[in-house]
Amino acid sequence: MILVDMFTMAAVGAGMFFFLAGTVGLLRFPDTLSRLHALTKADNLGFGFIVLGLLPQSPDVLSGLKLVVVWLLVQLAAATAGQLIAQFVGLERRRDPAA
């Protein structure tokens, strides 16, 4: 089994581990903001590892570049969405702290 396959298996495996951590964090964490933290950080890292693992496997350079573009978009989108949701939770808590 050539080295590339082993690298892909290791990277995709690490990506799966972080996705598992993110999903378990999303389900188990007590507070909304801690869930948001777990989701945004762990899943992004998992996505990055999966893209890293898939890069050597992609058939041509263009699709490899497209993989990196998708990863960049996910990074930007998740960072922005995390901030937006955190602001939304903050505003909601200021309006009725009992919730």
């Binding site: 999303l26 389900l27 909304t32 992609s58 699709s63 989108a77 998740a78 937006l84 949701i85 505003l91």
Partner: protein, 93 residues
């Protein structure tokens, strides 16, 4: 190698499906939106895995669209929130 990628995609589908439970339990609307975000990220990762495993590079665009839609969903949640301002500067109720 191909089987490993398909197996990883299947496991990831299971994980994303489990993550959707938060959409049902989530007390706050923000929790439900987080499950939708998970769909964007997890679904995109599944699409990438299947695109590489099957060799159909068009599926990478599906991952691109999923990531974009997840971002728009988060914006849609927070758009009319009281306390924020409209694009033309007029405050929300």
């Amino acid at each position: 190698m191909i089987d490993f990628l398909y197996g990883a995609a299947a496991l990831l589908l299971l994980l994303t499906g489990l993550g959707l439970a938060r959409m049902m339990w989530g007390p706050a609307p923000a929790d439900r939106m987080m499950a939708a975000q998970l769909l964007g990220t997890g679904g995109g990762a599944i699409a990438l895995l299947i695109a590489t495993a099957s060799g159909i590079t068009a599926i990478i665009d599906i991952a691109l669209v999923l990531a974009l839609l997840a971002a728009f969903a988060a914006v849609a949640l927070t758009l009319g929130e009281p306390g924020t301002k409209q694009p033309d500067g007029q405050a929300n109720p």
